[in-house]
Amino acid sequence: MLPLFIIIPLAGAFIISVTGKYSRKVSYTITWLVTFVLMVLSLKLLIKGGFTSYNIGGWAPPLGINLVADGLSILILVIINTIVFVAANYSIGYIGKYTSKWTYFALYLVMLASMNAAVLTGDLFNLLIWIEVGGVASYALVAFGTRAEELEASFKYAVLNTVGLLFILMGVCLLYAYTSTLNMADMAQILAQKPDNKLISFVIVLFLIGAGMKSAIVPFHAWLPDAHSSAPSPISALLSGVLVKSLGIYTLLRVMFNVFGITLLISKTFLIMGTASIILGGILAVYQNDIKRMLAYSTISQIGYIFFALGLGTPLGYFAALFHLVNHAYAKALMFMTAGAVVNAADDIRDIREMGGFGKKMPVTSITSIIGSMSISGIPPFGGFWSKLLIIVAAIQAGQYMGAFIAVIISIITLSYYLKLQKHVFFGELKSKWAGIKEAPVSMCVSMIVLAAVCIGLGLLYVPALKAIVLDPAVNVLINGSSYADAVMK
């Protein structure tokens, strides 16, 4: 069952690239069907749970490439496939203004395949290649509109991420020379037997640079606001909601926790980088007037929260980090979709000072946007509140009073800039030039409503029955770092 997550989207992409030029309907149908089937498969995998391993070509792990699904993989896989399905549904309404739509959908499915494969693979070099495949697809998708800003953002994104990837490559080369294996589980067992030395610290730094570039923590965040604000809106939703988490944070977690084993030094680095991201992203977001750019800076800030919670090093901290990751994925995807609907309706004007009073004309967009904003900024009934509360409680338990204080302050700032966004876009007086503004098409509205419903329901993940299925297996992978290697190599 595991290779289906790679085969189906790749087959869809190749079929679209053969037939897409002749019929637009075919590419729409294939994309919708592929993403729907994958969503159902991933939910089935979540309910089944447990640990599965699959040997590609029948070759056993130390020699061949294997696919591994444990708690962490399944959690990220479910997030990827649900959001990709909703965004595909949204794309069908959104893509109308672009030409050569089949290219968009083919690249979209390649990106999906690469994210699924990167999350599932158990081979370090294979992980690197899938990260790069997803990267190439996303560089092309960011530049899809081929306007000046999009090309500039895409160039910056591509160069910075390729450099980051080359650092990871150097780390992989050094690890291969040191351990003579590329399988992550085998490598973890060999590294556990060898004495600690300087090479491993160097490789950890290389991985921090490379995967940190993908996940945009603060010293490496420069590309994110440009790329996420310039891309087509469904792609922004995917980049912010899924790609940063599956290719960046997942890689870092898997390598740090399951291959090297987490140490105090790595935890401290996560803590410092996370705190810097929280502060910088939060404060810079207040000054933005471009609606999508504000959301992009908010992404940096929220990813800072995730890394801050991971750096605390306590089980509650890991739980809070993964819970916040889930909440942020759905809420930020929803926010980018509503921003896309607003920008689409307002003739590509993204400056929020020129808008106002859209709430009366676009009720669905307005209400879903309010739900998303409240979830991210942490208003009680929504999921975002519980995860932020847990992060702060975990920080106080771990003795990080300063960090907890910063988290609270920036949480209030988060609320303030989301209120600024709501006030300027959806409330106030309707200007005369926006008199003819219309609600988004039906497929876009349906997607936004679905994600808003998910955002409301995510608070339920803290209920013990659901928590035991969804989040606990993933947290256990992080707590018992060596269990991954034992389970694969047995």
């Binding site: 190439v136 000046a148 800003e149 160039f155 591509a158 450099v163 291969y176 310039s230």
Partner: protein, 114 residues
């Protein structure tokens, strides 16, 4: 030992080109130099003194100990394909940037701020 140091110097030279040069094409060349240096490094990792190509000439007397490591060569082939794709994509983007801005100078690319 000197070969390893030379590859790392090549790697840093590519990084220097990306960080310092202002021309988009020169940045792409810097990226290619970095990728190339990593390929050379991988070859060096798999190299063995006096070894031959990793091809079996007879099944009755296979001598895997006298061959260089074939895994790194497979890795290099994959990396070459990836770097080819990235380079093509970057060159097309650079051409279109020239179309929009009329220059390859990265200091003139300033539509995105904040």
């Amino acid at each position: 030992m000197i070969e390893y140091i030379l590859t790392f110097i090549l790697f840093t030279l590519g990084l220097y080109a990306i960080l310092i040069k202002r021309n988009l094409i020169k940045i792409i060349i810097g990226l290619s130099i970095m990728e190339y240096s990593m390929n050379v490094f991988l070859i060096l990792v798999g190299y063995k003194n006096g070894a031959t190509i990793p091809v079996f000439t007879s099944l009755t007397e296979p001598r895997p100990d006298a061959m260089v490591d074939p895994v790194v060569q497979a890795m290099i082939l994959t990396l070459v394909v990836m770097s080819l794709a990235v380079t093509f994509l970057l060159i097309t983007i650079a051409m279109r940037i020239y179309d929009k801005y009329g220059t390859y100078d990265i200091r003139e690319l300033n539509k995105l701020k904040g």
